[in-house]
Symmetry: C2
Subunit: 422 residues, 2 copies
Amino acid sequence: MRCDVLAVGTELLLGQIVDTNSSWLGEHLAMHGFDSLSQVKVGDNIGRITAHLRRMLDEADAVIMCGGLGPTHDDLTREAIAAVMGVELELNEDVADVIRYLFSSRNRTMPENNLRQAMVPVGATVIPQTRGTAPGLICPVTVNTANGPMQRVVYAVPGVPHEMKEMFERGILPDLQQRSGEQWTIASKTLRTWGESESGLNERLDGIIAELDEVGNPTLAFLASGWEGLKVRLTGRAPDANSAAALLEPWEQRIRAILGSQIFGVDHETMESVVLDLLRRRNWTLGVAESVTGGLVTGRLTAIAGASDVVKGGIVSYASEVKFGLLGVSEGPVVTEDAALEMARGVRKVLACDVGLALTGVAGPTEQDGMRPGTLFASVVFPDESGLGEQVAHLRLPGDRDTMRQLAVISALDLVRRHLIA
Amino acid sequence: MRCDVLAVGTELLLGQIVDTNSSWLGEHLAMHGFDSLSQVKVGDNIGRITAHLRRMLDEADAVIMCGGLGPTHDDLTREAIAAVMGVELELNEDVADVIRYLFSSRNRTMPENNLRQAMVPVGATVIPQTRGTAPGLICPVTVNTANGPMQRVVYAVPGVPHEMKEMFERGILPDLQQRSGEQWTIASKTLRTWGESESGLNERLDGIIAELDEVGNPTLAFLASGWEGLKVRLTGRAPDANSAAALLEPWEQRIRAILGSQIFGVDHETMESVVLDLLRRRNWTLGVAESVTGGLVTGRLTAIAGASDVVKGGIVSYASEVKFGLLGVSEGPVVTEDAALEMARGVRKVLACDVGLALTGVAGPTEQDGMRPGTLFASVVFPDESGLGEQVAHLRLPGDRDTMRQLAVISALDLVRRHLIA
């Protein structure tokens, strides 16, 4: 079954807002076995919206329209659908009551145009609003195609991403599944990897990819996540949740056997959440001394609620004198293995924590201490009794200043992780 | 003149990559006076690409195609254009030489399929590649419309954003301007504001907006930039650069008269670059003590190359004991005005810098020291002799943990800025 997407809004064409809704819908439709073969952006113009909708219904079994459901005269999605259905709009009293209540409960006067949002094409079903004021719509349409009259369906949802997503899950997906007659349960598992390019992973997983291509279920996708490494996602379909999960299991094990510790986490885990968990499990606290990354390592670790039981803090020793004075680094060049090691020892001592992590390097655009941009020295010092010792890594990272710094953050955290799981 | 956009790639429909190219093109086309009324995403399927291109050429004078110019059999943009032009593809030896050279100069063997990128529809002009291996194309097409045969043009550029943008500026825009016969020079000026909502700004600039609507040139647009405040952009068209700039000048002055110090910078300036410049002008160094933001303030300041002459470093005093021990904060609750002030004094002393900035607060999701999530105390301590004194601000910020922290960063930097320009 094919379900295309029509995003409505002049602001999308002018680049004032990037249309992320159709990408999200495309991803989720694919996960549930629906094809989305064309996605269109059109401005707030009734003629063009209607023309695009008609054309899309020639080919697609269903079209999801995002946006254009607000209260102003620019919001024309309802009118366009009614025109294509060949029906009038009528006031839906239940929807109108909800809108009136939303205003009165906030002690606000409802501008009369808000009732435009309660206008519904005759014959359409409402997806009740739970967050915003506009409901979604499910609109059956009969269209004349080259193969005779065909039943199609148009869904309309607000353009606000969280309202759109919630209505998709609650209203659109069940309806699509019912119409297609195929109600699969989807399970997916994302293996998050760090340290190898997409072509490298592709090569190593060559055999598995070929087998999966033949099997068809589950499927495997690589998702590039920029500075966050590469995701390897398995998605399986089955009649129920347990069978869907069971379908993934043997493939996950085979991938893990090949990629090993390159897989740093699954699904919503991040490099920083994994490192925090590993430290927490040992009851260890962490202090970070940063030069080249200027605070980004602690910034990312503390983005996680509850980081405070692990992260005691950090020293951003951007100026060399802070390295020498506060951290006790030996005077001399500061982009060296020794400087990184002394910074890690220093921050461990100054902040009185179990583990000290340090980063010194060159983000560019110019050289420092004769070292080229991209140079990173990262060091981690573990408690004496742990036997994990003092570690230093020398890396050469690619990219501009920003990219280098972000790669430095995740590389340094990965250094800690690899020693903790060794 | 109308120029629509066709983005090609199955990965765009599957949501593996968000199509930001068409938004960028829409924005830049509009700035130069071209309409982009429909933007379409389609997968790597020759039939569908060709069908969409034909349809789009029915209505648009020009279509820019992004993506599908690579070397693999999935890259079908060249074939689709040739089909619509009704011509063959032929090997362009100049392009082929460049591709061969790119490989040999890197001591790599060129896979034969790379020469696919040198195949050009007969009658097309090449936009030479400067970054990637694929050139862009300018392809004149005659199409039969309801109004008889019409001259159209199809542009093809790679999907890699920086290659696409560079070819747009160098190859597409000049060609479009020549075809349209209207070669305006565009000047634009972006005033960056902090501290007021879009509706608030709208209300205060009400009169100016109404006048500009009537005048039509220059135009004014608000661009929401999330955590970075709101941009107010003036864009004017004139026959030459000086007249275009002169067109903006009086309107900029009127807006500045209304918004005053809410405007923190122009064009590519950021809050952090402005604060660094203000400090640099006084020859002052800065140290930052961060709790709630965990290093994000120094992280952002040091994202700017050359920050090292101002930023000495920072202390991320995430654990209270680091505040008490290293920074000399009095033992007791740490989310208070006094704690912020003592942190700023402490970091100024420990890092021996001229200005100390400190942030303490609650990012959530839970309360701390009886203070609700969103609470921020920011303090800045200036040199005694400056007469700028010791400043503390108590703010209540909205949003989830991440949003609150990002808003805290820019709010604290704005505090420094406001006292430096006072």
